[in-house]
């Protein structure tokens, strides 16, 4: 039973809980047992409170026994990336500067998941302040890819991706600033969706880059992603950038997509993301799997065409000016005055020294690199040349998308140019690390929704297929992803994740 539980989709767990086939305590205990047995070798979690999880699960079971009205997610366990603020539960954002901090409040999405009756298993590891693509920038530990524990699980939501892929959580919340949900989902064989900017509240997400950050689901199936997304989406008066409009019917879109009929759907393949003349730096295997996925969409009735988005070539430099600029300001509050780490306050040093020492010791090298980059880009005399220019590029990228939507319903590309690389391979080469975000950055900069769905293996490792849609049309991402997932699972005879650890090649 327990092996089944830890490989089930969350939707199946939800059904089993509702029918009484399983109790929340049973499900929760199965995951806690798996964490106890395996997380030492995976390193997905920064904080697990088994007692609190079992207590919460017990309360849901008791409520269900009393016949109380419960939502569909009640009793289903989940994990939160440690960037999500949780009341009374340690929250570090992967940084030493917040070690030991127990927040006095819940993020809106944490409160919504609590209200929905989900059970928090723990907080997952991440690159410090979500800055990174491998989770190697965590100040605490290395997280390993369950497909091959010598490899990275992606980042920055690598703890969430590893936990879900390894069966240490049925699903998890990640956050995505430049690809931090989609890329780790891609390299661990999961579904990961970055919602339309403004459609999931940012209140209580420790900010990296405010104009880009979005939280979203990381799951084993497209339907699970839609379910979890619906649970956290919707207007929040605490977030001024939150969009006050109805959430599209995502689960319905996923169910409809799984029927496999895409006739009438116009799909644009982005030339600049791995296409002709733009394939440098892409694994051949990745491009093959993506081409196969495109062919599969076509076989289901989609009209496929090439679409050129010239400004996408500028996404990387624009992103690495805008995100660090905002980060340099967002991270200014970590000064040792009100919370978290304080260094050097022994009465012999003045305020500036204590602040400087706290930040010197509290932040890791990548965080410092970006603070310095952003501080420079915003400086008087450089602002227009850097931040100002980057904002113009952002407008051009948005315009490329807008133009594309005249001709196609969705745009597709690889999620990441490569499969998971070996731990340590890129730590000394930040630019190589940044290149992992090449395909995910345009949707981030334009604020449009994008999903990564598995499309097979290359060298025995998962490859992700990205589907981008116009703002607020997240349902299109789910429809296309569900169609692809269903067709591939049918051809393969099982879900991609079922092959984890076997290094089998995908049938194509």
């Amino acid at each position: 039973m327990s092996a089944d539980v830890t490989s089930s989709s969350a939707a199946d767990l939800s059904s089993a809980l509702q029918s009484g086939e399983l109790s929340s305590v049973e499900v929760t205990r199965a995951y806690l047992d798996a964490i106890a047995a395996q997380d030492e070798s995976i390193g997905a979690y920064l904080h697990v409170d088994a007692d609190a999880a079992l207590t919460a699960a017990g309360e849901i079971d008791a409520a269900r026994a009393k016949g109380e009205e419960l939502g569909p997610l009640a009793g289903v366990p989940m994990a939160l990336k440690d960037v999500v603020v949780t009341e009374g539960v340690p929250t570090t954002s992967g940084s030493k500067i917040l070690e030991g901090w127990r927040p006095p409040y819940d993020a809106t999405l944490a409160a919504r998941l609590k209200a929905a009756g989900t059970v928090l298993l723990g907080k997952t590891n991440m690159d410090e302040f979500a800055m990174g693509s491998s989770t190697e920038n965590s100040a605490y530990k290395v997280t390993r890819n369950p497909w091959d524990t010598d490899r990275i699980p992606g980042g920055s939501s690598g703890g969430s991706s590893a936990a879900v892929a390894a069966g240490l959580a049925p699903w998890a919340i990640g956050t995505d600033t430049g690809g931090s949900i989609r890329q780790p989902a891609a390299v661990t064989g999961l579904v990961g969706h970055k919602p339309t900017y403004g459609s999931v509240s940012r209140y209580g997400l420790i900010a990296f880059s405010s104009s880009l950050d979005q939280a979203g689901p990381m799951t084993r199936t497209v339907l699970d992603a839609a379910l979890l997304h619906e649970a956290i989406a919707g207007h929040d008066p605490m977030d001024s950038t939150s969009i006050d409009s109805p959430v599209p019917l995502l689960t319905e879109a996923a169910r409809r997509g799984a029927e496999g009929d895409l006739s009438g759907l116009k799909v644009g393949v982005v030339t600049e993301l791995g296409g002709d003349g733009h394939a440098g730096g892409y694994d051949a295997g990745v491009l093959e799997r993506v081409a196969e996925a495109v062919a599969l969409l076509e076989s289901m009735g989609a009209e496929v065409r090439q679409v050129s988005c010239p400004a996408f070539d500028l996404a990387l430099p624009a992103y690495y000016l805008i995100a660090p600029s905002e980060a340099s300001s967002n991270l200014a509050r970590f000064d040792g005055v009100r919370f978290g780490l304080r260094v050097g306050d022994d009465g012999s040093r003045d305020l500036d020294e204590v602040m400087a020492m706290t930040r010197e010791q509290g932040f890791g090298p990548e965080v410092k690199r970006r603070i310095i980059l952003g501080t420079y880009a915003l400086s008087s005399g450089y602002y227009e040349a850097y931040y100002g220019q980057a904002q113009k590029v952002r407008t051009l990228i948005t315009r490329d998308f807008t133009t594309a939507w005249d001709d196609v319903d969705v745009l597709v590309s690889p999620t990441s140019p490569t499969v998971a690389w070996n731990i340590g391979d890129r730590v000394d080469d930040p630019v190589a690390m940044y290149a992992a975000d090449l395909c995910t950055l345009p949707a981030s900069l334009a604020g449009v929704p994008a999903i990564s769905v598995p499309c097979g293996l290359s060298e025995g490792l998962p490859v992700g297929f990205q589907v981008m849609a116009p703002a607020l049309a997240d349902d299109r991402c789910y429809r296309v992803a569900a169609a692809l997932e269903a067709a591939q699972d049918a051809a393969r005879g099982h879900a991609l994740l079922a092959g984890i650890g076997t290094k089998e090649n995908t049938p194509s």
Binding site: Y105, R202, S209, S329
Partner: protein, 499 residues
């Protein structure tokens, strides 16, 4: 290191001053700028805080609509153009009193621009151009514990109170004001006075200068007379009373003239004003080097107030002080000069409120510009800062009018009110200040005065009526001033002068 100063009148023989003011006003909204915390003054430290105004990780701001409305109303009252599209910006710098490591403010896209305020001074009108009015958040307050001065140097440790952090703050910035000559210090003061009256009329702030509701940064520069260019300015920070505004300009003019006379350059810098000496000193060089790295606040959406709403606010503006002064002058039957005196003393509101509380315009004016002005001057505070309310002044005037106290006793009653002993009636009671009526005690005192001064009494009896003054004086002396002189005189006449 005291500064060399040039005599003020001499400054004007060689230099032309240009002044400018940046005034910060704390709005009187019920809640803070970006969260729901209370703004009540004087609460226990850090009791009016939440994750947002403490800048806790993950928290986000939400704009207080009332603060936007107040800012727009201020802009309208100053004749500004209200932007149809305006943004917040982050002003980045490190200091413990700013919880987020940046202040959420406005930079190149303020809510209100291009207004003006006409300031009247000694029958002349000076037009002060308003560059911008924008909205931002206040900082917390640092408290330095230990050490002698309460300043950071020598302190054992520092505490921060974030109750004030996030209170809405409006900044009103003038364009440079040339052409005021010798009147520059007074124009600066008159501008802040008039601005304060407008803010009071709008009801957007309590404008209590002693509580820091209104704080001005005063820019001053000098240029040689006839020069086409303006001089380099200094910015005197946090000048917190009307009197200090005037003094800081005067001081800077005298100091800068000495430097220019000596062939030195004026450094563009921040200076601090010292209330005790009336002088300024240079600020920390660290502050001057700050690059605030302004950029648009990504956590807030742009403000786009719609035209119709702005018009609704414009139509609903209250009567503004200039119009009100004309109306009041007519109602009170004062001359231009008499009204100007009240205006210059910053007492229009006080006099008006005192009249509203029942005093005659003449009495209200007499109290505020006479006894109370003298006391404010003696203790070096503004009239408004005296711990007495218009209602209390009206009550005092009423006690005099009713004959309960005479002028001298009324002044003693005022002592008690200012000392916090309560309302005038209560002070008269507790201090036993009421004038004696036709009481036995007074009859005895009158009789004793006649008996004790037989010569004077005889003179009066003989028809030398003016000698009665000596007897009145004697009665006042024995009653320690509590008798009403007119009553005493009448009683003496009844006894000594045959009708």
């Amino acid at each position: 290191m005291s500064d060399t100063l040039v005599d003020f009148d001499e400054v004007l023989t060689r230099y032309e001053p240009v002044i400018g003011l940046e005034t910060h006003v704390e709005l009187g909204t019920a809640s803070k700028m970006f969260c729901g915390c209370s703004t009540t003054f004087g609460a226990e430290p850090n009791t009016q805080t939440c994750p947002v105004c403490l800048g806790l990780p993950g928290s986000l701001p939400v704009v207080n609509a009332d603060a936007i409305e107040s800012t727009i109303r201020i802009g309208l009252a100053l004749g500004c153009r209200i932007a149809s599209w305006s943004r917040f910006a982050r002003k980045n710098y490190f200091y413990p009193d700013i919880p987020k490591g940046f202040q959420t403010s406005q930079y190149d896209e303020p809510l209100c621009t291009a207004g003006h305020l006409d300031v009247e001074l000694d029958g002349e009108t000076y037009r002060v151009e308003i560059e911008r009015v924008h909205i931002e958040e206040d900082t917390g307050k640092n408290l330095h514990v230990g050490g002698a001065t309460g300043r950071i140097h020598g302190a054992d440790h520092s505490l921060v109170d974030y109750n004030r952090a996030g209170i809405p703050l409006v900044e009103i910035v003038t364009r440079p004001i040339p052409g005021t000559g010798a009147k520059a210090p007074e124009v600066a003061r008159a501008y802040v006075t008039e601005l304060r009256e407008i803010l009071l009329a709008l009801g957007v702030s309590e404008v209590r200068m002693e509580q820091g509701n209104l704080r001005s940064d005063v820019n001053t520069s000098l240029a040689p007379i006839g020069s086409l260019d303006w001089g380099t300015r200094t910015e005197t920070k946090n000048v917190n009373s009307l009197r200090s505004v005037e003094r800081s300009v005067r001081y800077e003019m005298r100091r800068q003239a000495a430097l220019l006379d000596a062939g030195e350059r004026i450094v563009q810098e921040t200076r601090h004003f010292h209330e005790d000496t009336g002088s300024t000193s240079d600020g920390r060089s660290k502050e001057e080097a700050t690059d605030y790295r302004y950029f648009p606040e990504p956590d807030l959406v742009p403000l786009a107030p719609d035209e119709e709403w702005i018009e609704t606010l414009r139509v609903a503006l209250p009567e503004l002080p200039a119009a009100r002064r004309i109306r009041l002058r007519e109602e009170w039957g004062l001359s231009d000069a008499e009204m100007a005196w009240i205006v210059n003393a910053g007492a229009v509101g006080l006099v008006s409120d005192t009249v509203a509380a029942g005093a005659t315009p003449a009495d209200a004016r007499k109290w505020w510009l006479g006894e109370l002005a003298r006391r404010a001057n003696d203790s070096g505070v503004e009239l408004i800062e005296l711990p007495v309310t218009p209602k209390q002044v009206a009550e005092l005037a009423g006690l005099v009018a009713a004959g309960t106290v005479n002028d001298q006793l009324a002044r003693q009653a005022l002592d008690g009110v200012l000392a916090g002993e309560g309302n005038p009636g209560a002070v008269v009671e507790s201090r036993g200040l009421a004038v004696m009526g036709d009481s036995d005690e007074l009859v005895a005192a009158v009789d004793a005065a006649i008996e004790g001064n037989p010569d004077v009494a005889d003179k009066v009896r003989a028809g030398k009526v003016q000698a009665i003054g000596a007897l009145v004086g004697a009665v006042m002396k024995t009653t320690r001033g509590k008798a009403d002189a007119a009553t005493v005189k009448r009683m003496l006449e009844e006894r000594l002068v045959s009708s």
